[in-house]
């Protein structure tokens, strides 16, 4: 494959245009090229006004999220030779569009502020000791690079009228809840304030996560179970509380 490839990039400036359209560009193919390379080529050599967002080009910062041939993906991690010669790149649909491929993801900061941060248990001896095995669970969630692709694919998040925080934020809460020295339990607040009940475990989020976090099984279902414990099983709650010296956040 050495000839040009064609990419269709969604172009739309909501401030000056009524609707968007796909524009086709020819880009010379380079071995091992990723979709981000093709869009950057357009921006640097064909039309500097194409708006894209990227930073690390290494799959590490979570900036370059887009829908590539309909699938929420990182542009810098999607190899052209793996998706064929017809490529369409569109912005994430779950977030308000800023321009072309760039969306406004700032509502995530507001949600993040609502989830209580790491709060160490009281009376821990210094320096803190943690069994090496116990860091593993939380570590899975801490791999999250905040690409928000899981949010993009989630049908509940897309239907903007629910209070659901969305998968990224359950992952965040789980990363603290499963931190061995954290003293809070966020499951109840995820349920009550965060609308976690709206999630019907379709697992679409897990499928698109570039960090291969088992969002549904390991974060959402766990938090849902905890929340159920909290609501319907006061005795279990008391026992657990004693054991873990936890405070429930309302």
């Amino acid at each position: 494959m050495s000839e040009d490839i064609k990419i269709n990039v969604f172009r739309f400036d909501p401030e000056t245009e009524k609707e968007g359209k796909f524009v086709e560009y020819n880009v010379p193919y380079v071995d091992g090229m990723v979709v981000l390379d093709t869009v950057r080529y357009v921006e640097e050599k064909i039309d500097p006004t194409v708006s894209i967002r990227w930073n690390c080009k290494a799959g590490k910062c979570g900036s370059c999220s887009a829908e590539i041939n309909g699938k929420p993906s990182l542009m810098c991690k999607t190899r052209v030779d793996e998706i064929g010669k017809h490529i369409t790149v569109a912005p994430m649909a779950a977030f308000p569009l800023i321009k072309d491929l760039v969306t406004d993801v700032s509502k995530n900061w507001e949600i993040a502020r609502k989830i209580p941060m790491f709060t160490p248990k009281e009376g821990l001896e210094k320096p803190w000791r943690i069994n090496p095995k116990d860091v593993e669970r939380s570590k899975e969630f801490k791999r999250c690079i905040e690409c928000f692709l899981c949010m993009d694919v989630c049908h509940v998040v897309r239907e903007h009228f629910t209070p659901y925080f969305g998968p990224r934020h359950i992952v965040k809460a789980a990363s603290w809840d499963m931190h061995p020295l954290d003293g809070l339990d966020r499951s109840k607040m995820l349920d009550v304030e965060g609308g976690m009940g709206y999630c019907n475990i379709t697992k679409c989020c897990t499928e698109v996560c570039p960090e291969h976090i088992k969002i549904t099984d390991n974060a959402i279902i766990q938090e849902k179970e905890r929340a159920v414990d909290r609501q319907y099983d006061p005795i279990a709650m008391i026992i657990k509380n004693r054991r873990k010296k936890e405070k429930v956040v309302k």
Binding site: V30, D31, N55, C56, A58, G59, K77, R113
Partner: protein
């Protein structure tokens, strides 16, 4: 185009939201003053997110003999005796506190069997010293600080590109920025300013650095009359990916060698046994990088122009557990399973030791109320940086810069900014909008290629002269660059603005490299292969009154007599 300008007043303006910027913002907030933090990428995406191997701190958890004095000695020796000794002392003493603070904020470090923070070996550190979170230490650092910033409600503006600082007398009274997502322009009025804009790696073609590392901080500080130092000192990391071309330069963490990976040439020889029989693969970065370079140049390289890095002997379980991100990176980008196959690697531009000259204790620049911390600041690392010391640097000196800015801001007031100052910057920005403008990215391509070819890992006068000529030419052509469209999310405009800053770094790097007629640390010259006592100096660079770059040679700072016991005496051949 939108003519309105929004004004934001603050006690401390922090430019940059990497580790250094965020830590500074936390200091200011916790002292009860108002910080405003700006970043040209999204919050949480700063270059720091890419750091892999770990953060150096003499906690002594794994090797109890470690302490700040040993760390200090390692910094000075690796910096080849031109580091600022006071900064090295501060880092050695304060890094452990900052690591424990990060743990308190929620960072979950890998553990020793008895439950303490695990520390791994890294090149040229005497002891196992790097606290780490697998090979994703930077991500954890950024996300942990981001959570603190959000919950403290620290005001921030992301995707805000700062074009220039505004100076009055010996003070910076504000800064001018473009909010990329809205296209609005902003005027920040501040009592004090902290620059934490990271490095300049993107001035080279092959680099591990992210898009934003174009040396904007160096550029804006230089234009405001701030002094720079050690600009010739560019660190080449020994192991960047070479194939496929799209990921050329992408970092392969030193952690691979720290965990037992070995380097081989195409003949299967473990050549580090020859170049460095004692420390082998874990010698200092400049030593290993030059060894890799020589093997490649002398025809013992691999198919794609690299050398082999092999960790297969450690087995899949170990590799996937200790180096999960590397395992994924090679599998996804190159289709290589590193548990079974060797990696192909070559040197890549990684870190800028040079930058803004600061006072060791307060990170103050030569201006009264301007501070700088993190990769943009200079002094600590001298002629070469030890792996892991940058993450320690950004926390230790980010905090100190924040604290010092607070002290200054308490007895200072916000000043009015003259309209003509604003107008000056505005017209600089607007002059790039023209129909016949040259494409900035074509110039950037030529500039970065020139730097990689002529100011690379092995330098000589002929190539450096050539580089300076090309840079002069590009400075002329820069007057003709332009773009179309508006202020909103316009990468053509960003290319123009960034190119202006990149040219400042490049001119300083190439000229200082040509001045320094010796080989020291990361600066290696084939025409002056030896270290020379006459060059135990720092080169200071600033904007002269005539508009040209001025260079001053200053003897390196002498450490106090009692500290000499911590350091091997410097030897010259």
């Amino acid at each position: 185009m939108n003519n309105e300008i929004e004004t934001v007043e603050t006690d401390v303006l922090i430019i940059g939201a990497g580790g250094a910027g965020m830590r500074a913002a936390i200091s200011v907030n916790d002292a009860g003053l108002k910080p405003v933090m700006v970043t040209k990428s999204l919050l949480g995406k700063a270059h720091t997110v890419m750091a892999e191997g770990g953060i150096a701190a003499a906690l002594g958890n794994v090797d109890p003999k470690d302490n700040w004095m040993v760390h200090y000695g390692d910094i000075i020796e690796e910096g080849v005796y031109i580091s600022n000794w006071k900064m090295a002392e501060i880092l050695g003493k304060e890094a452990p506190e900052r690591v424990l603070e990060l743990e308190k904020y929620g960072a979950l470090f890998d553990r020793t069997p008895d439950g303490r923070i695990m520390q791994r070996a890294f090149g040229a550190h005497t002891y196992r010293r790097l606290a780490h979170i697998g090979d994703r230490t930077g991500l954890e650092l950024i996300k942990t600080l981001e959570d603190q910033v959000l919950h403290r409600n620290i005001p921030f503006y992301d995707e805000m590109y700062i074009v220039d600082l505004i100076r009055k007398g010996d003070k910076i009274i504000g800064a001018y920025g473009i909010k990329m997502d809205t296209g609005k322009t902003f005027l920040f009025k501040a009592k004090t300013v902290v620059i934490a804009t990271g490095g300049s790696g993107r001035v080279y073609k092959v680099t591990s650095n992210s898009w934003e590392s174009t040396g904007d901080g160096v550029g804006m500080a230089y234009r405001a009359g701030v002094k720079l130092r050690d600009m010739e000192m560019i660190q080449f990391h020994p192991t960047g990916m070479v194939y496929p071309p799209g990921v050329k330069g992408l970092l392969v963490t030193e952690g691979v060698r720290g965990e037992g990976g070995i380097l081989l040439n195409s003949k299967g020889e473990r050549y580090m046994l020859k170049y460095s029989p004692q420390k082998k693969e874990l010698d200092a970065r400049d030593v290993v990088a030059r060894a890799n370079y020589r093997e490649i140049m002398e025809g013992r390289g691999t198919e794609h122009g690299g050398v082999y890095l092999d960790i297969t002997n450690k087995g899949p379980d170990f590799i996937k557990h200790k180096l999960p991100a590397m395992y994924q990176q090679f599998l996804e980008f190159a289709g290589v399973d590193i548990t079974k196959e060797k990696m192909e690697v070559a040197p890549t531009v990684h870190y800028m030791m040079g930058g803004i000259q600061v006072d060791a204790e307060t990170e103050k620049t030569n201006l009264e109320n301007l501070f700088a911390a993190g990769e943009v600041a200079s002094g600590l690392h001298g002629a070469n940086r030890l792996g892991g010391n940058s993450l320690a640097d950004i926390l230790v000196f980010g905090k100190r810069a924040g604290d010092a800015a607070v002290n200054y801001a308490r007895s200072s007031k916000i000043e009015e900014i003259p309209a003509e100052e604003i107008e000056k910057i505005k017209s600089y920005v607007m002059h790039f909008f023209r129909d016949d403008g040259k494409n900035p990215y074509d110039l950037i391509d030529r500039l970065t290629a020139c730097m990689s070819e002529n100011v690379g890992i092995m330098r000589d006068e002929e190539h450096l002269q050539k580089a300076m000529e090309i840079i002069e030419g590009l400075k002329e052509e820069f007057k003709e660059v332009g773009t179309k469209g508006g202020l909103r999310y316009n990468h053509g405009l960003l290319g123009c603005l960034e190119l202006g800053n990149m040219l400042v770094s490049c001119e300083a790097i190439a000229t200082c490299a040509s001045m320094r007629k010796e080989s020291r640390g990361a600066h290696a010259r084939s025409d002056f292969p030896k270290k020379d006592p006459a060059w135990k100096v720092n080169i200071v660079t600033y904007l002269g009154d005539d508009g040209n770059m001025v260079f001053e040679v200053k003897p390196a700072e002498e450490m106090p007599e009692e500290y000499k016991a911590y350091v091997k005496p410097e030897v010259y051949e």
